[in-house]
């Protein structure tokens, strides 16, 4: 932890904050507070955060906002374009696309966040082991990482899903368990740079056990890297889920997900004549991914000003 204090002093001294400090700010300018301020100044990141929160709220309150269930059938209003009653139109069984888009958000966002968390936990664990123990442990883990990274994730995932069968939980686990190489590399690199630092040498000299040194001393220093990665991890997971469900190998109908809602467009007639059925889900994906990318950029600027490029 000594390390982070030193770093934050350097940040406070660096001429990155042009406006004069008020007495209040000067007294309580903790690293977290500084990071928050830098994040708030990244306008696109704030917009991204607002969009993501809005989408999460829409997903949570879908039953209230949607005015109909995702599978409620309006027999008199089938195959309609957007109307006042059905904002995004209806499909051939009379289901409301707006309601389905909201409910699909529940599935797609949950898979995105849960899969990202799984990949971060697995990646951080493997990365910590590789970086802390080095030698053959590092060699084995990193070669394995190379193998997984060499191969396009979608191909491996397609193969596994096609063989084990589709489903929400399976989709989530497979995406989570295949996305760990990037966080693993990040944590390992950080651990390697920490290994010879005084506070870890001191901890070792005082007889701290390996798990304690990893969890209590080294790991907290990787949190900022992982937080920055998290938004990109969510992006990855949402894109993979959408791709899988689009091919019919992810979330299965009648449960709606953004990916399988776009699947109807593989029918050329639907693609050409009923764009309201597949465009909303696609736009939802693009907006979520865009927002998460902005948040990620903002977090990177906020937490690691040295990485600030462009």
């Amino acid at each position: 932890m000594d390390n982070s204090v030193v770093k934050s002093d350097a940040r406070a001294l660096a001429p990155t904050t042009p406006e004069p400090l008020t007495a209040r700010q000067a007294t309580v300018l903790t690293p977290t507070r500084q990071a928050l301020r830098r994040f708030r100044r990244h306008r696109l990141a704030v917009v991204g955060l607002v969009v993501v929160i809005l989408f999460i709220l829409l997903a949570i309150f879908a039953p209230i906002v949607a005015r109909s269930g995702p599978n409620t059938v309006d027999l008199l209003g089938r195959n309609q374009g957007p109307t006042g009653r059905h904002w995004f139109g209806t499909d051939r069984t009379g289901r409301d696309t707006f309601a389905r888009t909201l409910y699909a958000g529940r599935v797609s966002l949950s898979i995105g966040f849960a899969a990202a968390i799984i990949s971060i936990v697995v990646g951080a664990l493997l990365g910590a082991l590789a970086g802390f123990f080095g030698k053959w442990v590092d060699g084995v883990i990193m070669r394995f990482t190379d193998v997984v990274m060499t191969f396009p994730a979608i191909i491996i995932i397609l193969t596994i899903v096609a063989l084990t069968g589709p489903g929400i939980i399976k989709t989530l686990l497979i995406i989570g368990l295949l996305n760990w190489p990037v966080p693993c590399r990040l944590v390992r690199a950080k651990f390697l740079s920490l290994r010879e630092q005084e506070f870890l040498v001191a901890a070792r000299a005082m007889g701290a056990s390996a798990p304690r040194m990893i969890a209590v001393h080294a790991f907290p220093n990787t949190v900022d890297v992982l937080v920055v990665y998290a938004s990109f991890g969510v992006v990855n997971a949402i894109l993979l889920e959408a791709g899988l469900s689009f091919l019919g190998l992810g979330v299965q109908p009648p449960t709606a997900s953004w990916g399988n809602m776009i699947n109807v467009a593989s029918n050329l007639q639907v693609l050409e004549q009923q764009p309201w059925l597949w465009v909303p889900a696609g736009v939802a994906i693009v907006l979520t991914v865009l927002a998460c990318n902005f948040i990620g950029d903002g977090l990177r600027d906020a937490l690691d000003p040295r990485m600030n490029i462009g």
Partner: protein, 333 residues
């Protein structure tokens, strides 16, 4: 690459040769690991691969099934079957498709051409357009053009390949009618290069969207980093034209991070090709792979995994070698 002395050049090509050799040697265990993992996964699957071979309406006795199983070599233990497979691959034989009995090698040979032309043109568009737009964006930093290009890059990098493909198909083919709606060439018409190109442009453009966006963003930031250096100011002070300063002094030094990005987007290119092939009914490796998975065609899945992994590893090697051509300081020891 300017290497002054012939003896230096000789030494350089020697180390490069050794480097390539060593890299290829490392590649072999990786290939074995990847195919072994896929092979292992195929063993864990619940279904009987024999079912994929028999049509559903044929009813066979257990003896008959076992006889066919034996003929196909499906009754041996998994590790032995994997070693058999490896031995055959070393001889250049990838086995036969379960579904049709065609040799896997032949099928892949038919399909790899269209995929390489799609991915190659997608990558080429991505590199050329991405670098040009990135340089323009950096030189005109904070202009309206820079702003518009940055928004475009963000949108492009956030749009999944299949949605880009569908939108492209909807707008440019179905609504505007500028391009054909899919396929390799117009059916029933003798092959012509222009006809093929006409079919290729739209899927290649949609595939390159992600590449263009990410290469553009990295080019922009790499160029900005370089343009603020002292030697650029020196070049400008000497009175060199903007073209020479930007084109040869700055871009050359910005290229190294760009090559890294190009290499890093190759897996995305392969993944994107799977979706675009299926949207544009492109008879390539992507649609073949989906076919193979749907039919549990094990020999085909294994053969394709092997080929795809090989292609990707070669692409990685080429990426690393490109560094040497861009930056003569880089030596491979």
């Amino acid at each position: 690459m300017r290497i002054a002395h012939p003896s230096l050049r000789k030494e350089w090509s020697d180390t490069l040769g050794r480097y390539i050799q060593r890299r290829l040697l490392i590649t072999i265990p990786i290939l074995i690991a990847i195919t072994a993992i896929i092979f292992g996964m195929l063993q864990l699957t619940p279904g009987d691969p024999l079912d994929a071979y028999l049509s559903p309406d044929v009813i066979l006795s257990i003896e008959q099934r076992n006889a066919i199983r034996h003929d196909l070599g499906l009754d041996r233990p998994a590790p032995i079957r994997y070693l058999f497979w490896l031995r055959e691959v070393a001889k250049g034989n990838l086995g036969n498709r379960i579904k049709t009995g065609e040799p896997v090698g032949t099928v892949i040979k038919q399909r790899i051409g269209p995929t390489l032309s799609l991915m190659g043109s997608g990558l080429a568009i991505g590199i050329v357009v991405g670098i040009v737009l990135g340089v323009v964006s950096a030189v005109k930093q904070y202009s309206v053009l820079d702003f518009v290009l940055t928004i475009f890059a963000f949108l492009g990098a956030s749009t999944p390949a299949f949605f880009a493909g569908l939108l492209g198909l909807y707008i440019f083919s179905l609504r505007l009618g500028w391009f054909p709606a899919g396929g390799l060439a117009t059916p029933g018409v003798p092959y012509s290069f222009w006809d093929h190109l006409d079919h290729l442009i739209l899927p290649a453009l949609m595939l390159s969207l992600f590449q263009v966006s990410s290469i553009m963003r990295y080019t922009r930031s790499a160029m900005l980093g370089v343009l603020s250096q002292d030697y650029i100011r020196t070049a400008q002070a000497k009175g060199l034209s903007q073209r020479v300063t930007v084109g040869s002094h700055a871009l050359r030094n910005a290229l190294i991070p760009i090559v890294t990005v190009v290499g890093a987007t190759i897996p995305a290119l392969v993944g994107g090709a799977v979706f675009l092939e299926s949207i544009f009914s492109w008879p390539g490796m992507g649609t073949l792979y989906l076919d193979a998975i749907a039919g549990r065609d094990y020999p085909l899945i294994m053969g394709m995994t092997f080929i795809i992994a090989t292609v990707i590893l070669i692409a990685n090697l080429l990426t690393d070698l490109t560094y040497a051509f861009i930056d003569p300081r880089i030596r491979y020891g």
